[in-house]
Symmetry: C2
Subunit: 236 residues, 2 copies
DNA sequence: CGCCATGTTGATCTAATTCAATAACTGTGG
DNA sequence: CCACAGTTATTGAATTAGATCAACATGGCG
């Protein structure tokens, strides 16, 4: 599979959880026990119910995490971008499914060896703890979005989030890479495909965004988009 | 304030995060740096936006955690029961508000001293990591609930959750202690007070639950309640 | 080209919200 | 102990945001 060419435009790993700041010794140790994996678009990494013994780092591409109800309704719990982890299911995990959205380069760390490394290098445990804490904050924000925001507010928040991500990766914050389908976005925001499509159309009609290239959304008016997001904050 | 009497019926700390399993030495150390606090019902512990420098353990009573949108809509992100922690906002926290639901006994641990203890006792860091991981799993389940479940499914899931909690505290799993208001429940489940009230009424009419004592809900038919919960699981 | 997945748009429909009225319960002070 | 004020809960009627159903467009790819 020649996915290097396809992945090229979306590379650049900047703020890795396992990135700069770790002792070289630890970095080597982690590197040794890990392995690189390449997957095409729309492939499964692991399924809800599997007992996954690994932590994955996305090196390149986008991964989608989701959970299902018994009758097949899906909730997307997150999109994972380069430098971020998934698969950390310590504790009495209930599990989720991880699939690729784009072609993806992954680094796999067996959980057992990370566990051992944590004994030797407390800084690793710290970093993990910090990471899960941040995930928890993100999860709480998503609960606010799912439970209390309108379709327009949801979409606006989502687009602004993509923009931050874009900026964090030193790329144009107005040119949003949106490789996931409308259905994926819908399942992330607690909406239907149709509503996502309609809401995007409305933002387009309002001149807030433009759909120039397929797979990208261009933000024209950040101010009005921010107004719609009606975001977090009793920052009195 | 004589709240000992009022709190008596809801005591018993069983599965504390800082409970059995920690070295005695560490336990002492934690105990020394911590302090006990008593609060009445409906008091604020800290507000969204405050930079909170502490981790709290609920010793007795129930605490409610919530976030607000700019225009005042509220999302309850969780209820905290005896033995559980809140206030862990490492990382680039955005914060939330913590208020008491009932009269509450809290143990406060300054974050800084926990941090130091983690250096000396890696087991503490482990325990924290395990705890945040479990919180993350709970958060993902809540996202599924908020994004994809109907009002009846939400209520059924909530009641079953309370039942598990009740059982975990060695109390009757059919007699649910529900000290929070319908509004609190609504803000937790992404509904309105009226819908929560109506849905409870419907379960009552169906003979699935009974409202005998104020502040409690009695489950009569777990099987049908479980059917309604339409719960997590592609446990193929 | 023609197939299949994805996306858009329109016309209904409905679950839950909103608005409104009343009831029940809590606590407070005379 | 009771009245009355305030919060909390219930129930009904009207409204609506978003879902569902349906038709068609687009676009990538063998």
């Amino acid at each position: 599979m020649l996915m290097h060419t396809k992945m090229a435009p979306e590379s650049a790993t900047i703020n890795s959880v396992f990135g700069i700041g770790l002792q070289a010794e630890l970095q080597n140790r982690l590197h040794e026990t890990s392995s690189l994996h390449y997957l095409g678009a729309h492939e499964m990494v692991f399924m809800e119910g599997d007992d996954n013994e690994n932590v994955y780092e996305v090196v390149e591409g986008v991964v989608i995490l989701s959970k299902l109800t018994a009758d097949g309704r899906r909730q997307v719990t997150g999109f994972v971008y380069p430098g971020q982890l998934f698969g950390v299911s310590l504790g009495d995990s209930s599990g989720y499914t991880a699939e690729t959205v784009t072609a993806v380069r992954l680094r796999r760390y067996p959980y057992q060896s990370l566990d051992q490394s944590m004994d030797l290098y407390p800084s690793l445990g710290r970093r993990f703890l910090r990471w899960t804490s941040n995930e928890l904050v993100a999860a709480q924000n998503q609960m606010l979005l799912l439970g209390r925001k309108s379709a327009m507010e949801k979409l606006a928040s989502f687009l602004l989030h993509l923009s931050e991500r874009s900026e964090a990766q030193d790329r144009d914050p107005a040119r949003l890479f949106v490789p996931m389908t409308r259905g994926d976005i819908a399942d992330y925001l607690g909406l239907t495909t149709e509503t996502v499509s309609r809401t995007i159309s409305r933002f387009r009609q309002l001149g807030i965004i433009e759909l120039r290239e397929r797979g990208y959304i261009h933000v024209c008016d950040f101010d009005r988009l921010t107004d719609f997001a009606e975001d977090e904050g009793c920052l009195h």
